[in-house]
């Protein structure tokens, strides 16, 4: 059964909020893998489409600088292990990035084959092919490429076991640091475990990846420890030689309209977390008429999940036009394929109901110059569930300078407090993506090493995409524009 069709077969379309809208046999399949993995032949054929560009546009578009042509060539030659090591060397979360990266706006958008013949190389699928094979071999044999240097005697605390924290911890452990991760929740993985639609990381992938990352050794995790509650920056700075903050964005933005506290009105991230963590999907409460407010990938994720769990009508309402949506065209396509309705140019005005939500009123919007304004005309949609997906924000740790609403860091990911570094969604640099977080964690780890062991070279080899150019990687404009 294809992924899309399943979402269009609700069984119980009666009003109200309830579980069990689908036939019981469907729950096992409802969040099956969004994308079928490539088999060996498919991977080799796809790999053969790569031109092996020099100073490749795909690499320049990858926030974690994975040497994409190199790993694809290795897949083509049957050196799948070499391909996976190339990927994981640059980005230890390469497996989840292959699943959750918006490649249509990153490497695959830049792929020259998109320009040459309208179809980019399927980089994400190839990356998944290599990293899946690697992970499966690791799980069987417990053998892997990444080994830890002997302890260098320095201790680093990592706050948050999301992509940024895991990447930092892995890189630090590899260098020989003794790492302790403090994680507020009960599991590691961050948004990959709690906040991404399950069909993107099917088969318990997030937990399997975490197990692989931690297997390098030298990393201790303490769960249920939150900064500001159980831990303080001052205390951590005393106990550790350095601290890395990968705390993500802990709070949700509010709509700021009447009725937000009615039953059935909820943050999308909370609902996704419930869906991801439940043991019984048929117990998840699903409305008949579901509204999602927002235009990003989280909005699409919750809309599609509710539709697939049997909601009769799911409408995604966004205050601007489709082109301005944070959700990529690929995400919007997933939404459309699953029968999610899209209503653009409308903003929330009021949520109404007695105890629980019954309907929601929106005001049409338009641009007045570059400013978005209400037109005064309104419409009302029936709703028994409303999900807010209009962005998350930082719960700022005390004692740190901020840059706007995020933690201020310099080019080395150092915060205003000596010895304290930060990366991932909680800093301003880069888009809020798994791949960006992985890169921040990696670079911050290197900065911590450079700070604590000045003048010393990294204890392991870091490959460069352009070794002929003396490792000067990835064309960046020099004065005068020539390189």
């Amino acid at each position: 059964m294809s992924h899309a069709n399943l979402g269009l077969t609700p069984r119980d379309a009666s009003p109200g909020v309830k579980g069990g809208r689908l036939g019981p046999t469907l729950y096992g399949k409802v969040f099956c893998d969004l994308t079928a993995p490539l088999d060996q032949k498919e991977a080799e054929v796809e790999a053969s489409r790569c031109y092996y560009c020099y100073d490749a546009p795909c690499i320049r578009s990858c926030p974690s600088e994975i040497d994409i042509p190199s790993f694809i060539r290795k897949i083509g030659s049957g050196n799948v292990k070499g391909a996976a090591v190339d990927i994981l060397d640059a980005n230890i979360l390469g497996g989840s990035c292959a699943r959750v990266c918006p490649v249509e706006t990153l490497c695959q958008e830049a792929c020259v084959r998109d320009k040459a013949d309208g179809k980019p190389v399927e980089i994400a699928k190839l990356q998944r092919y290599a990293t899946d094979a690697y992970l499966e071999t690791f799980e069987k044999t417990k053998e892997q490429h990444f080994t830890r240097e002997k302890s260098n005697g320095k201790k680093v605390a990592v706050i948050g076991a999301g992509p940024a924290g895991l990447s930092a911890a892995h890189n630090l452990a590899r260098m020989g640091f003794d790492v302790t991760i403090f994680e507020a929740k009960a599991k590691a993985g961050g948004l990959n475990e709690y906040g991404i639609a399950p069909y993107k990381v099917a088969d318990n992938f997030a937990a399997r990846e975490v197990a692989f990352i931690l297997s390098i050794g030298g990393i201790k995790i303490e769960y249920g420890k939150a900064l500001g509650k159980d831990l303080s920056l001052d205390g951590l700075r005393k106990d550790f030689d350095a601290v890395f903050l990968g705390v993500g964005l802990g709070a949700n933005n509010a709509l700021g309209v009447p009725g937000e506290t009615l039953d059935g009105v909820q943050d999308a991230t909370k609902k996704i977390e419930e869906i991801r963590q439940t043991k019984d999907l048929s117990k998840v409460a699903v409305g008949r008429d579901v509204l999602v407010v927002g235009g990003g990938n989280t909005a699409v994720d919750i809309a599609v999940q509710m539709k697939r769990l049997g909601a009769e009508f799911v409408t995604l309402v966004y205050r601007r036009g489709e082109e301005q949506m944070g959700a990529t065209w690929h995400e919007r396509e997933i939404a459309a394929n699953n029968g999610v309705l899209l209503k653009t140019w409308a903003m929330p005005k009021e949520i109404r109901g007695e105890k629980a939500v019954r309907e929601m009123e929106f005001e049409y919007t338009e641009l007045s110059g570059s400013k978005l304004v209400g037109t005064g005309k309104t419409f009302t949609l029936k709703a028994d569930q409303v999900f807010k997906a209009i962005g998350q924000k930082l719960v700022a740790p005390t004692g740190l300078e901020l840059d706007g609403s995020k933690i201020k860091v310099d080019a080395n990911f150092a915060t205003s407090l000596p010895g304290v570094y930060a990366g991932g969604d909680c800093v301003k640099e880069g888009e809020d993506l798994t791949v960006t977080s992985a890169q921040h964690g990696k670079l911050a780890a290197r900065a911590i090493f450079a700070k604590l062991f000045p003048g010393k070279a990294l204890p392991y080899f870091v490959p460069s995409p352009n070794p002929q150019d003396d490792g000067r990687s990835l064309a960046v404009p020099a004065p005068g524009g020539k390189i």
Partner: protein, 424 residues
């Protein structure tokens, strides 16, 4: 519609596309399927003396290039393993049923006049249009003193050709082996022996791959392998050169040639014909895709000829021969320079790295303002030697080599001031 009919060494066929002597022409069943598909002729798979040879199981190996399954094919199959009488009967039946098609019979018997006399006498009544002497097979038969063991010794080539000419009415095609340092020698020998035509090339001695698990050559026969005969698209350049060498050799110029070697498309065929081939023989492409490819061979060639204004094959046959020269006759004053069409460029950088790493550092790289901006590549014209490498690696063909009008006289190496031997 151009006229594709072809006459070579007195043998007529409705088009120049023949199936070469090989498994596709092993029996009546295949040959009739080929004729139904539209092939102009066949060279029947080589007949030998009874008892028939025995073939091994596991016979072919191939080179796969970037997903293209058979860029080169290698085989360790021998000549026909069916009884002589069966083949002869079927040849006669086929020729009778398909009188307009060319049926040539390939032969290989021991290097004794009696053996050749005997088999020629048996082939004669089949009504076959001609015979082809298999002096090329590089494996199995050569160890028995046949095939390329004969083809590699010009004196033997001449001798056997002479025997055959003396003992048959049928035109004699001599099939040449490429496993020799100068193909003109056996070609000249064939001509001296009275050959009506030469066919080339036969397969090239090869080990196509090593199976790294079995640590043995492929095709692997019970854990062992042997060298075989290499053919397919990869050998075409070698074949073209050998055809050209014979076509432009004053001693063999004009000797009819049936061109063979990696012909898969009408374009390949046109190239062989432009070098003087009177017919072309195909095998690997048919083995890869089946007989139907002859449809494209036929109408592709015909459409191209219409476009060029060629009415019959002889209008362009051999046209390229005068332009095949020795290196020292090329004009050293000729200059061509690469030009990159920026509108079509996809910014892959392959031209740049090829030139920078392995050629003349004649392409510069101009970065955009941000890391994600495309990099522009431009030719440094003063440095470009016109080697063509950039144009060859460009995946979107956006690089053209532009001939420079320099108004300089023709200057070959023989007259160049740097040449101490130059004629002054």
């Amino acid at each position: 519609m151009a006229d594709l009919s072809c006459t070579i060494a007195g043998v007529k066929s409705p088009n120049p596309f023949w199936l070469a002597s090989a498994p596709p022409t092993d029996k009546k069943y295949n040959v009739e399927r080929a004729f139904k598909a539209g092939w102009g002729g066949v060279v029947w798979k080589t007949l030998g003396e009874d008892p028939p040879v025995v073939n091994v199981s596991s016979r072919y190996g191939a080179i796969e290039v970037n997903g293209f399954k058979i860029a080169g094919l290698n085989n360790v199959e021998l000549i026909t393993d069916r009884p002589l009488e069966v083949n002869l009967r079927e040849i006669a039946e086929v020729k009778k049923a398909w009188p307009d098609r060319a049926v040539i019979v390939s032969l290989m018997v021991p290097c004794e006049e009696e053996s050749w006399k005997k088999i020629l006498k048996k082939v004669e009544p089949t009504g076959a249009d001609g015979i082809e002497l298999n002096f090329g097979c590089p494996h199995g038969m050569s160890e028995r003193g046949m095939g390329s063991a004969v083809g590699q010794v010009p004196e033997y080539v001449e001798m056997v050709t002479r025997w055959c000419k003396a003992n048959t009415r049928m035109p004699v095609f001599v099939k040449l082996t490429p496993n020799i340092s100068d193909v003109r020698m056996p070609a000249r020998a064939a001509k001296r022996g009275g050959a009506d035509a030469v066919s080339l090339i036969n397969t090239i001695n090869s080990i196509v791959t090593i199976d790294l698990d079995q640590m043995a050559p492929t095709p692997t026969v019970g854990g062992k392998g042997t060298h075989g005969g290499y053919c397919g698209p990869a050998v075409k350049p070698i074949a073209l050169n050998m055809v050209a060498e014979i076509a432009r050799d004053p001693e063999t110029h004009g000797l009819p040639i049936s061109g063979i070697g990696g012909i898969s498309t009408w374009r390949d065929a046109a190239e062989f014909i432009s070098l003087g081939s009177g017919s072309v023989q195909v095998c690997t492409a048919a083995m890869h895709y089946g007989f139907k490819i002859v449809q494209d061979l036929n109408d592709g060639l015909s459409n191209w000829m219409d476009e060029k204004g060629y009415k019959k094959l002889s209008d362009f046959m051999g046209r390229a021969i005068p332009n095949v020269k020795n290196w020292n006759e090329l004009d050293l004053n000729f200059k061509t320079i690469a030009n990159i069409n920026q509108d079509q460029c996809v910014n892959c950088g392959l031209c740049y790295v090829a030139c920078e790493d392995t050629s003349h550092q004649s392409i510069k790289k101009i970065a955009g303002l941000t890391r994600r901006d495309p990099i522009r590549y431009e030719v440094i014209e003063e440095e470009c030697v016109g080697c063509n490498l950039c144009a060859l690696v460009c995946p979107v063909n956006c690089i053209t080599m532009v001939d420079q009008k320099r108004d300089l006289p023709y200057l070959p190496w023989t007259k160049h001031p740097n040449n101490p031997m130059a004629a002054r």
